[in-house]
């Protein structure tokens, strides 16, 4: 089986809600989370998706 989509990174302002294998970036503010997501999106050629106010993921499609 070929996995086509993968979570490359998790960016959060609330450390307690995430756990697991992908790299986790913990930020102080939402603004900081958005900036890091924008950079990671450009670097990894992925898309930044917003799951909740406190949580972004970068997904490779």
């Amino acid at each position: 089986m070929k996995i086509e989509k993968a979570i490359l990174a998790v960016i959060t302002t609330n450390r307690s809600i995430v756990e697991g294998g992908a790299p986790i970036f913990v930020c102080e503010t939402r603004k900081e989370a958005e900036d890091i997501s924008a950079n990671l999106e450009a670097i990894t050629d992925g898309i930044a998706h917003e799951l909740s106010e406190e949580l972004f993921i970068i997904v490779k499609h």
Binding site: A38, E41, I47
Partner: protein
């Protein structure tokens, strides 16, 4: 020079002319390749020769010569493979790919055009030998006309209604009308999409077209044609800026999200309307006996 020289020459010229005319009509599918054109005109010439030679061969009672036509069939199937391979190779470097269904459609039409050329040359030579050059000319023009009609095919505007619907966000979700397209997390990307994007909704006119426009290949063809004609606001490494089409599961409408460089709603509508309906996407559930036979209602 013998009695067949003029009829054969006539058939070959008409057939090759037919191929050149049909190359012009597929400008959208095959832009700008000069060498590609040379290949197809040459193959058209070969097809025309085969069609023209068949009649004199039969008249000389050389019936086995007709088996040459089977060689032609093999040859033109090869044309289809060649087109498919070339376009598939090139497709991975398109900003918005054509998709396999579209490529298959183009390949099929290239094969069938050669058969139309054989048919045109065949009829032209036949009428030239049986009647005279004037009747042959009329028959040839008739054949070319029929070929043009056969090759034109349906367009998207014949099977759906196209409406412009503004894009909007609910949270991070991008919507066209009520159709969910994708999740865009970053506010700056959202602003870009609202600034540069356009949304359209295609409403199918009947049950057959619901399945036809749901076909992923047909949808990709729409995106490709729009992106080629109106330009596309994206680059490699910006997957968030990808034109997409999603479907409303409720009623089969599809929502189109595009990022054209020429942001003109009327032009975009025209371009979407002019996208060919792909042969391999066409479904006709209404032709099924389950719909026509009303025995157990």
């Amino acid at each position: 020079m013998n009695e067949y020289t003029m009829p054969i020459l006539f058939g070959v010229i008409i057939g090759t002319l037919g191929r050149i005319l049909m190359l012009r009509t597929d400008y959208r599918q095959y832009p700008t390749y000069l060498h590609g054109k040379v290949i197809h005109v040459s193959l058209g010439f070969i097809a025309a020769s085969l069609g023209s030679v068949a009649i004199p061969a039969i008249m000389e009672l050389e019936f086995t010569a007709v088996t040459f036509l089977t060689v032609a069939a093999t040859q033109f199937r090869e044309v289809r493979n060649m087109e498919r391979n070339t376009l598939t190779e090139v497709d991975s470097f398109e900003l918005v790919p054509r998709g396999k269904t579209y490529i298959e459609g183009i390949a099929i039409s290239f094969e069938s055009r050669n058969y139309l050329v054989i048919f045109t040359s065949f009829i032209s030579t036949l009428t030239f030998i049986v009647f005279d050059v004037y009747i042959a000319l009329i028959a040839a023009i008739g054949c070319l006309g029929i070929s043009m009609v056969l090759m034109s095919g349906k367009r998207i505007k014949n099977i759906v209604q196209i409406e412009h619907c503004p894009l909007h966000f609910k949270g991070a979700g991008l919507y066209v009308d009520n159709i969910y397209i994708m999740n865009i997390g970053l506010p700056e990307r959202q602003d870009e999409i609202l600034k540069y994007g356009l949304g359209f909704v295609l409403t199918p006119k009947n049950i057959n077209t619901i399945t036809t426009i749901a076909n992923l290949g047909q949808r990709q063809a729409i995106l490709h044609d729009v992106s080629v004609t109106l330009g596309v606001f994206r680059d490699s490494g910006t997957p968030a800026l990808t034109p997409l089409i999603k479907r409303d599961l409720d009623d089969g409408r599809i929502g189109i999200f595009i990022l054209p460089q020429i942001r003109n709603v009327n032009k975009a509508k025209k371009v979407i309307g002019a996208v060919p309906v792909l042969e391999s996407a066409i479904r006709m559930p209404s032709e099924s006996s389950f719909f026509r036979w009303r025995g157990d209602e």
